[in-house]
């Protein structure tokens, strides 16, 4: 995760699609490659790769990707078919679904969470529907 600006820049530099800080995007942003957002997006983001949401990003959109890293604000549902990381500056207002979920201390998450891999196992408690500020990193093994 990118707790420092340099780390965010390093990740963004490898991305195929980059939405810069002062850019406002409306509509459906689809890609096969990695997407980095540090500006505003209103609509939908879909990719087979990784979506990296920078600390200045303000996203009103559903996000669907293999991996999603959140350091900014997302108002919408987030589906990561593999891994979802919400760093300490991340804010997610919406439902999240991931195979592997990591939420850092200080992050804000308001919505329902689903661990995709465990959906078929009804004996395990999977969801939380209350607004919460998560203090610890959540990994599947802690459930």
């Amino acid at each position: 995760m990118f707790n420092r600006k340099e780390e965010f820049v390093a990740q963004a530099g490898a991305a195929e699609t980059v939405v810069g800080t002062s850019v406002k995007l409306k509509g459906t942003l689809k890609s096969d490659g990695d997407i980095t957002v540090d500006g505003s997006v209103n609509g939908e983001i879909k990719t087979k790769g990784t979506v990296t949401i920078g600390p200045n990003a303000n996203i009103i959109a559903n996000v669907h990707a293999k991996n999603v890293n959140v350091a900014g604000t997302v108002q919408g549902n987030v589906v990561a078919t593999d891994r979802l990381n919400v760093s300490e500056s991340g804010r997610v207002y919406g439902d999240i679904s991931a195979n592997i979920l990591s939420i850092s201390a200080g992050a804000l998450f308001s919505g329902k969470s689903t661990m995709a891999e465990n959906i078929k196992e009804p004996e395990i408690e999977l969801t939380a529907e209350k607004e919460e500020i998560v203090e610890d990193v959540l990994e599947p093994a802690t459930k």
Binding site: V18, S22, V23, K30, T36, G39
Partner: protein, 290 residues
């Protein structure tokens, strides 16, 4: 046989100094062909039409990106291949194709390895390298004046610094493939047909049927000067840089602004730019960037 179109004005008349050596080298390689010199605006297109009518299958541009732009807009036949001997102030296409100087160009022409590349289309004009709006247009103008001898080194630096100080970002609206729209203030916008910009991802190729849009929202005075000198590391300016991939883009602005392609002003906003259905056969080096 090869048909060479020489633009004697390219690169401030660089060709005039090496013309005899060049012809001698081409004779040594057995590809001397026929030479024609353009005499003014529109003449490169006229010579290209004439060469095709006479059955030439290879036309060689002895000039820069501007000369190449005129030739590709005049080549109507898909069977004609384009070669180049770089002589312009801007030789972006030759550089990407691995053609670094006239001596290398001669060897590459003799080896005649041909690849097909995409072309961009602005209204009804084709381009092969990139289209630009914003600060690039000031740079093209300054570089042209420098090559023509109208600006010395120090005068060029002073003009560049002044332009970097006074240039106001332009508010532009973009629509990408009819799927999403983007609005931002732009210091510069480039739409590249391949790896013409060093900070683009390695995957960008002039054969992927896509154009790479790079938007630079704003730069400080010192960074704008570095950009003009080609020394700014844009990979470290993320946040100010946006990158999108598209087949078709529509650009609008409150006031009409100049759109250039291959280093020449060709249109004004509002404008639609897209990947053309037409492709271009070019003679390339084995050391090309794609």
């Amino acid at each position: 046989m090869y048909y060479y179109i020489i633009n004697p004005a390219s690169g401030g008349g660089k060709i005039n100094k090496i013309q005899d050596k060049l012809k001698e080298r081409l004779r040594e390689l057995g590809i001397a062909g026929e030479f024609a010199k353009s005499t003014g605006p529109g003449d490169v297109a006229r010579l290209t039409h004439m060469a095709i009518e006479r059955g030439y299958k290879t036309i060689v541009a002895v000039g820069g990106d501007g000369t190449i732009n005129e030739i590709i807009n005049a080549i109507a036949s898909p069977s004609v291949a384009l070669g180049m001997i770089p002589m312009g102030f801007s030789n972006e296409l030759a550089t990407m194709l691995g053609i670094t100087d006239w001596q290398t160009a001669c060897n590459i022409l003799a080896a005649r390895k041909v690849e097909q590349v995409d072309l961009g289309l602005i209204n009804d004009k084709l381009f092969v390298t990139a289209a630009s709006i914003g600060f690039d247009n000031i740079l093209f103008d300054l570089k042209r004046k420098q090559q023509d001898g109208a600006l010395g080194r120090f005068a060029y630096s002073a003009k560049l610094s002044a332009a970097a100080r006074t240039f106001k970002p332009i508010h532009l609206d973009f629509n990408f493939d009819g799927k999403y729209s983007v609005e931002t203030d732009c210091f510069n916008f480039s739409l590249s047909n391949g790896a013409f910009l060093s900070y683009l991802p390695q995957k960008s190729k002039p054969q992927d049927n896509m154009l790479d849009a790079v938007l630079i929202s704003h730069l400080s005075h010192s960074d704008a000067v570095k950009y003009g000198q080609g020394t700014l590391d844009l990979a470290r300016k993320l946040g100010q840089v946006s990158v999108f991939h598209t087949k078709k883009i529509t650009i609008t602005s409150k006031e009409p602004v100049t759109v250039s392609a291959d280093g020449k002003a060709v249109a004004e906003t509002p404008v639609t730019i897209e990947v053309s259905d037409r492709k271009l056969k070019v003679i390339v080096s084995r050391k090309r960037r794609f």
